[in-house]
Symmetry: C2
Subunit: 457 residues, 2 copies
């Protein structure tokens, strides 16, 4: 049987996400991000298109590295402004039955008790359709505005994050037995207190002695997503993620990443197939190859150099304004000790990248690969990514909001469905079942959260 | 002209709120709190009933003082379980056009930058219909599970809360000029960076140097609600609240509270009419006085002594299990140094209250007064509360969820409308206009947040 490919729409609660300057296109609807009606319309479109879910990126900081200022980031709406995406989900859930909702939530500036309550609430309101992308946050601006002024070191962030996730799992899986809420009107017992347990967590970063405040929801624990690419990040993902977002720029590189991740998951005692891999991808399409190419040319003309550099400087922690746009970058060191060649050579090691090359590349879809073509071209290319790398699906970015995904649904989805590569309807009712099949609403038994799970006395 | 009375439905994101044991009534729908469809149906009912808004209480702790345990609290679902109510709001907003949404959010375990972002997001998604009830939190259990293990002292909590609100106001009013988002597709400028300003906040509790991440919303600042009854709480309310929730047990006591609050608001340089007062009230009604009385008798039979004591012990910080249920409490000292007589004598100083009297009183609607009667009886009594105390409206609790408010809307609302005491439709579109009239979408000019407001360069 042909393996069906999973699709998530990659989005952001602001006018413009990874693409730079493309919001100027007349068909872009990014400025509608403030309207609940916009998101409801989008949710209905995605469910009609049989998407597994929508996935919201988030970051509590802003880009202020380029020119040492946020000026160009603001001009191009570079991941800014940014509302809190978690609040959009319940409105989209009320308008749909099957679509899943992944959302980024950082471990840096919140408490695991609050985060557990947030996701329990969202899993109730979506009736089991929510996922949590665990991130540790990278912006100095966030640290300045929300924290003590400086970020934790990279390793310390991961130690903190590991314990954070552990506390959340204990609260969601380990405090309540499944049938603790008996709602017995005759005996006058709503909750049987013998079936609710204190978690007694005492760790390096958190002390949480008590019981959890929320009833178990359909999934209990949201589907755990992660995206970390560092060795510590991959280790955390291999241990606790159920789905990993990758952002590889070549199939060969992606295959290595997938193999490494699955090996580490197996070494951690998990079935490697219990970690789904979802690769970021940007598709520019139309009814034909020609139409797609024409739209792509329109986008290319709109790319903003400064908007791209404002983003890239923030991601790399390196002020790109200090380099000549047209001189190749060879041995420039970044904060993280990598050279610019390291960062971009994974795309094309033979090329000498200039800042302008980088801007043109990331201007459309960020560091994601881009596929341009009509239905057949796109379907074939997507299938080859899956076949050659072992991934499970795609996190579909956009250059312009709403219309790019609508074009994909109108043109590519029917082609994928005809080829048996995409679902034509939904079987299960939860996000976890969208990913792992009907009957898998709860954490797999080999997930570290499963050991905390309380079934019944 | 007759003064129109404001109405909010007082609710909670759990199966049972202040009433004890009444969830056993066959018409109660509290157990549906997990369903987004339930809340959408409720929102439509409230808007049909011309309510000004729904108001969500919240508390991040649970009751574990009675018997030194959470056992009886769990059995009676005493404000437990409790989802995070803020996530319900966008779904209710998508289904309505005018209904407002007040929600409690504590200053104790969150950061003002995150809270400002939360309310900016909610104000966008509701298109200007959100309010923030500022509380400082009182539960030891919350402090144990989310904090360092002990609560701040009462005065320290208020100092912290005052600075917290100040930071939120600076972010919401002071960082962006109204027209900073120019969205100029020709010039390629989404936000004019010269119209976004760093707030440079440096205080005792918080350092927030940067810019805010969210565009100004229709109200910019949510309507600020407060409920504190202590002298420090009243001072904070007089200085910054636009609406104050009171929970008086007699008209005479309420009039004193209202007069004191308005005097303090005036002393703080504000128009006393810019602070609306909304009294908590529980109404048990039906088509006739007899029907209402019959329902009330049904409720009384369902009151749970232990459920009421679990709540009351938590509120008073005093384990009520140490007293004989039928012996009058005279000089028992509470944690706060009050005697039990102090606490209950404000209701009826001539009465000698036993624990059982207290349970019967608070079992239906908590410490709120209760009006029982058909449409005319209730309308007259509500009007007399307004006329004799100078309040602006009511925060309407319930004994059973959904049905009590539906009965009020079916029976009392038409009677109030006939008498010119309640709106028959909506004029403005924001929560602040629901309270203060059309054209008042933004903070009044005498509010402390207004001095931060950035209009235009």
């Amino acid at each position: 049987m042909t393996k069906q490919i999973k699709f998530f729409a990659f989005d952001f609660a602001g006018p413009a996400h990874l693409s730079a300057g493309i919001w100027k296109h007349p068909l872009d609807r990014g400025h509608e991000y403030k309207s609940v009606k916009y998101w409801v319309e989008y949710a209905k479109l995605l469910e009609k298109g049989c998407f597994d879910g929508i996935f919201f990126a988030d970051n509590v900081g802003y880009h202020d590295v380029y020119n040492g200022s946020y000026e160009e980031a603001l001009k191009d709406a570079a991941q800014f402004p940014a509302n809190d995406p978690a609040y959009i989900i319940p409105a989209m859930a009320a308008a749909t039955e099957h679509l899943g909702f992944g959302v980024t939530s950082s471990t840096a500036y919140d408490h695991p008790y609050s985060v557990a309550r947030k996701f329990a609430t969202l899993d109730h309101l979506t009736d089991g359709r929510v996922g949590w992308n665990v991130v540790t946050s990278y912006s100095d601006s966030a640290a300045k505005n929300l924290g003590s002024g400086t970020q934790r070191s990279h390793d310390d962030r991961y130690g903190h994050a590991e314990e954070f996730v552990d506390v959340v799992l204990k609260l969601l899986e380990g405090s309540w037995e499944d049938n603790a809420a008996v709602v017995d009107r005759e005996k006058g017992i709503y909750i049987d207190p013998t079936r609710v347990h204190e978690i007694h967590h005492e760790g390096e970063h958190f002390k949480v002695p008590g019981i959890f405040m929320c009833e178990p929801s359909k999934q209990r624990t949201p589907v755990i997503f992660q995206a970390g690419g560092s060795s510590r990040g991959v280790a955390l993902a291999a241990a606790t993620a159920e789905a990993v977002f990758t952002n590889a720029t070549s199939k060969a590189g992606l295959k290595k990443q997938v193999d490494n991740l699955r090996q580490q998951a197996a070494a951690a005692g998990r079935d490697p197939n219990h970690v789904a891999v979802v690769q970021m991808m940007t598709v520019v399409t139309g009814r034909t190859d020609e139409e797609a190419q024409q739209r792509y040319e329109e986008y290319k003309k709109l790319v903003s150099y400064d908007g791209a550099m404002a983003r890239y400087s923030g991601w790399a922690g390196l002020d790109m304004s200090t380099f000549d746009p047209d001189v190749p970058l060879k041995h420039v060191k970044t904060n993280a000790g990598q050279t610019m060649v390291d960062l971009f050579s994974k795309m094309d090691p033979t090329k000498e990248w200039t800042p302008r090359d980088i801007a043109e590349y990331i201007g459309i879809g960020g560091t994601s690969p881009v596929i341009v073509g009509g239905p057949e071209t796109v379907a074939k290319e997507l299938q080859s990514w899956v076949d050659e790398t072992g991934i499970d699906g795609f996190n579909l970015g956009n250059a312009i909001k709403f219309q790019d995904i609508k074009d994909f649904i109108d043109n590519v989805v029917p082609e994928l469905q005809t080829r048996g590569l995409m679902r034509t309807g939904y079987d299960g009712s939860t996000l976890r079942e969208n990913i792992f099949g009907q009957g898998n609403a709860r954490l797999a038994s080999d997930h570290p959260g499963a050991k905390y799970h309380k079934t019944s006395a």
